[in-house]
Structure formats: structure tokens, C-alpha cells
Amino acid sequence: MTLRFAFPVCSPLAPFLASSLHRRLSIPSRSSSSFSPTPLFSSDHRPPLFLRPPAFAASRTDLHDFRRWAESLALAAGPRLSASDGGPDAALLRRELAWLVEDATVAAASESGVGEELRLRVELEELYRLWKARIEERRPFQYIVGCEHWRDLVLVVKEGVLIPRPETEMVVDLVAEVEGFEKGLWADLGTGSGAIAVGIGRMLQEGGRVFATDLSPVALEVARLNVERYELKDKIELRWGSWFEPLRDVEGKLMGLVSNPPYIPSSHIPGLQAEVGQHEPKLALDGGEAGMDHLLHLCEGSASALKSGGFFAFETNGDEQSEFLADLMSIKLGNFFHNIKMISDFAGIQRFVTGFRR
């Protein structure tokens, strides 16, 4: 399988360097290996915005001016954005602005107007630049503040990592319904930011483990940050590699397998809202022609990966894909699996396929 960079290679980087990086990445593709902590490529070495120290200051009036400017931009752009490709409307943008200011400022000791100066995590000019990028380039809000609130977690995200979706929150609940899950071995395939792994990891007890795998070094770097922030290093093991390959040593021993694999049909990607199509990693979105390349691969590999009685849950692009896969698992692969279910998300779409290994 060709290794594609999950992020656009910056133009200043010389082509020869890009290809040497490519070679370094392709070497461990056949063997499973634990992820090495040195980031191979990072476009921004600073910590995410919401974690930076409040090293800057601005007066209340200046911040107020910024907000007024940003709001008018949002009001003007909102209708255009939402009409063009289902992007955010004015109300949503205004709320994102409020959160941006919340994440960028340190709460004052007293709420009243006492104290002219506020402490900021970025300089005021940067705030202007960031908001301009939000509106004009459609840079995702979550990349700007460097985090996504997901379930009861605050996960670090950045360019090169898929921003965890609200639908995926349910996967953790589905895992929690499995009898004895707390002490089992779990695998989160294509972990991205590590969202599902951290969600499960926090509920595990003695003996429970999550193996979180991904093909993207950037994703693993971010996942490692999140695992550390939630102090789950002893519960979650990050592994680099493609799907089942890094898990050969635990083949047949897994109590459960979960995944939110790329499931968007390739042809749909250009038509997606700009925040997704132009900023999030294609590696995390593209599922091939029908969007099911990876899902099918996962379905077929689960039989040997799971132990007897093991559980799987996969997120899909919706009704059509879920029905196809549910059929596959219960009929063609019916010798290996049973108790196949399709679970709807809160928007009423059949979002997940779950079942058990016989």
C-alpha cells in the first residue's frame, strides 16, 4: 500500500528531503513496531494554543475591539459559508469566537471591570490572523485553538489529525456495555488523536489494555500527547502500522476491536465542506470508491484478530454501508460472527455495525 503523507508538505521543504522522509517511513511497513517518540515532521513546534502560557497582555478595550471586528466578519460571512457547502452559519461562528476568546484568555481574578489588562496566550495580532484564517481559509476552529472537546475530554488536535466527531462518542458507550470489558485487551485501529483509546482507557481496570494503531506519524504524536495528558501510559500502547499488522502478537487474544476508519467515497471528498476537504487529512477520510475499502479489510481481518466471544464495533458512513457490512458479517462471514447489530446515532442514521466473534 502506498504511503501517503497525511499532511501537505510545505513548499519550502526541498523535494529531496521529502523523498528521504518518504523512504524512512516506508521501511517499517511490514513489521509491527512500537512508535518511536521523535516527531519526524512537525509544521508547528509550539504547544497548542489552549495550553500556551499567558505570556501576552491586552487591554479590555483592545480585546473588545477585536471581538467587535470578528463578530461583524462572522455576521457577514455566515450566510455565504453555510449556503456554499454546509459550512458554519453566523450563530455558530459567533459561538466559536466566544470559545476562541475563552481559550486564549486567562480568566481574571475578579470578574468585574477592575483591572484594565487581560492575560492572553497569543498576542492580539495573532488573534486577528487566526480569525481571518477561520473565515477566509475555512481553517477548522479546532485546529486554531488546538483542541476538540469530545465526551468529557479535551483532546489536543492539530493539522494532520482527524478531528474526533461527536458521533464517535458512542463507540465508548458501546464498549462499556460489553461484559467484563474493563479487564480485556482492546484495539483501536486508526486511532488518530487517540480519542476512542483514551475514552476506553479511562474505564479500564487492572489487566485491561488498549492497543492504539495508526499509519500517520503525526496522528501518533498527537495520540501520545493525549495519552500522557490523561495519564494512561500504562493502559494504552501506541503502535505504528497498517490495521492488523502491528497486532500480530496479540492475534486471537483481543476481547474487542473498534475502529472509525476512513469511510468517505473518494469521489465525495472534493464536494465536502472546506473545513474537512481542504484541511483535514485525506488519509483519515478516503475509503476508496465506495468508501468501504478499509471497512471491508477490517471485517475480514477481525475473525483472526478477535478471541472467541470477542466484540467489534465499526463506524460507517451511514445506512447503506452499515447494511452492506451487517449483511456481510451475518451471512458470508456468519460462521465466524453472530449477534450482528446496526446502531443509530442521534441524528437517526445507522452509524455503527457491532457484533461478536463466535
Binding site: 458554519p88 455558530l92 479546532q142 461527536p166 476512513p262 458512513n317 451511514g318 441524528a347
Partner: protein, 425 residues
Amino acid sequence: MRNLGFQWGRNLVRRYYQRYDFLISSSSIPVLRLHPLQPSISRGLFLSAQQAYSTESHSELPVDLLRIMEQRMIAIEQRSSYLQEQINQATVSAVDYSRANKELRKLGSSMELIKELRTKEKEIDGLKSVMSDCVEDKDMWNMADEELAQALVEERRLQHLLLKSLLPKDDADERDCILEVRAGTGGEEASLFAMDIFKMYEKYSQKRGWKFDVIDIMESDLKGYKEASGTISGPRAYGRLKFESGVHRVQRVPVTEKSGRVHTSAVSIAILPQADEVDVQLRNEDLKIDTYRSGGSGGQSVNTTNSAVRIMHIPTGITVAIQDERSQHMNKAKALKVLRARLYEMERSRLQRSRSKLRAEQIGSGDRSERIRTYNFPQGRVTDHRVGITHHSIEDVMEGESLDMFVDALLLQEEMDAIASFGTQ
């Protein structure tokens, strides 16, 4: 009905003063200005702040009250020993055991006081017989007399404590609560006052060390609050704020008013005790949960910060929508919290309505349409109509400084109501 309740309250209050003089002891309590409509109500009743009956010297309880208390004491003693027997049986089932144990624990504090009181009664009897036996022995008699005096004081203290423990308690008092503010008649001005009053409760909460968390705000055109809700978390938050439920009337010159005329508008407030999963069990089958649907496939194809959740409780039709948390999970959790509180409140009012008429007309019965307080800005004062108290610094009240004054008086009235109904059983 409203007026009748208010009227009746005043008469009962007069009766209290006569029968329950024992509640008012210390004269160090400051006198409050009384509402002009209630000149006849004696100062004794509406003395503020300190719980008068918790000071050192207790007056004697009325005889009929003591008689009822004695009946209650016997009933509790009998119940307690019956439950104890049940527990000690070798063949008791686990269910019966835990049920009996639970009830015993509830009676526990009353039983403690009863035992102490019985001991004290025996001591008093003993001393009295000593005194009647040795009338000639002056020294002996004096000693016994002194001890008797002390024992009687102690007996009264125990009786007061026991009375308090026997009064019906609202378990909800200890809980956190949800504040709901709604602008009533008066258009834009009502919305602006709704905002002021919402912020007043925020300040009051902060002063009391409670945590104030906004749930939702619906703004009006002039940035007032058409509707606003929040959770208030801290010890006894509900117990102190429950009296705020009702209609708050405001008289002032609106900011929009050009001719300087005073307008009257109204804001209605509801305080709900928070309920947890034990109080209100929600079954998944009874809930219809909806989220924003992008119109497309959702999932990976969408990046939105809109994670609004709407939950409908199918059996009752109650719907809650929350949108301002940053994750869908948190919006859902908040919506469930509000839903539980509403269902709990529904159940509580249903129970309260089925109780005696007396209880239903008492303070804190939660009649939401009752006009309970007037805020008069031109005259700079706030009046609570239930206890007839007026505070002459409206700025203090709006800063959350002086609400305690009203709350303490209302708590006192609630206690007296409880004693009255105790006495009629």
C-alpha cells in the same frame, strides 16, 4: 386563591404568636420595618436572622403540643423496637433486613433524643421524690432544688430539639438546584429586569460560595433575557432558594422610557431541586434524543461545532434542548440533568397537592403564579409579601447582599407552619 392564602397566612401568624411565644426569646434581634399592610402583626414574629429558638434559654412548650409529642415519642419507640426485632430474627430476608435497617437509620436521630429525654425525665422524677422525702433537711432540699432547676432547663432544650427533629423535613433542602427565570408582562423592560435578577442570583450564589453555571440564555432585542436558566450547586442551595419561586414584580422607569414614567413589569422564577439517577430513573426506551442533522451523511463528512442535543421524555412530553456545551456528550448530560429536575419537580408537586389543604397553602408550596415580591426602584425598596418584610436598600438586594434577610424570615415562617400542622395531627 392567592389572596385567600395570603390572608389566611396572616391570621395563622397571629395565632402563632400567641401560642408559640416560646419561639421568640432573645431581644437582641433587630426589628425590621413592617409592610404597611400588616400593622397588627406583632414585631415578635418577624424578627430576623437568628433562629430565635436556638438560643440558650427556652420557654416552656404548650401543654397540648407536649401531649402530641409524647404520643409521637411512644409511637417511634414502639416502631424502633419492632424494627430491631425484625433485624435480629434469624430468618429475616435480605430485602426485609435492608428495608428495616434503612427505616431504623432514619429514626436514629429522633431515637437518640428520645432516649436522652427519657433519662432526663427519670432524673427529674428522682429529684422530685428526693425533695418530697426530705423536706426537713434544708441543705439536701436546696441541693436537690438546684439540680432540679438545671434538669428542667435541660429537659426543655431536649424537647425543643426533639420537636425540631419530628417536624416534617424536605430532603430536597440539601440539594443543588436549577434556577429558571422568565420575563413576564412588560415586554422589553421585563426582559431587562429578568437579566438583572438572573445576575442578582449569580452574585448571591458567589457570595455564599455556591457554584453558578449558566445552562441557557435566550436574549431579547435589547440584550435582556427573555428566558434564562442556570444550575446552582452547593450545600443547601435548594433549601435557601426555594422561596424565590413565584412572580417578582418590578416598578421602575425603563431605559427605553422617554417621558420618565414608572412602569410595572413582572418576571417569573422557578427553582427546581436537582435530581439524580436514584430519584428519577430514566429508561432509554422513554427518551427520544435528537441532534442537529447536517442534511448530509454526517460523521467524517462534517466538521461542525454544533453539538446541540434535544431530549424528549416520551411519557410526559417534557422536552429539554441544550446547545452551549462544547461536546455532544456534555450537552446530553446537561439535558438529562434538567430533565430529571423537571420530572422530580412534577412528582413533588403532585405529592404536595395530594396532601392536606393546610400544607398546600403554606410557604414554599411552589405556586408559581403567586406574586411574592415587589422591587420598587423609585422608592428604593424591596418588599416580600409573604412575610411582610421590606428592605430599604434596593441596590444591596440587586447586588445579592440582602437576600438572606428575606430567606431567613421565610425559613422561620416555614418552620412555624410545620409546627402548626404538627399540632393539628
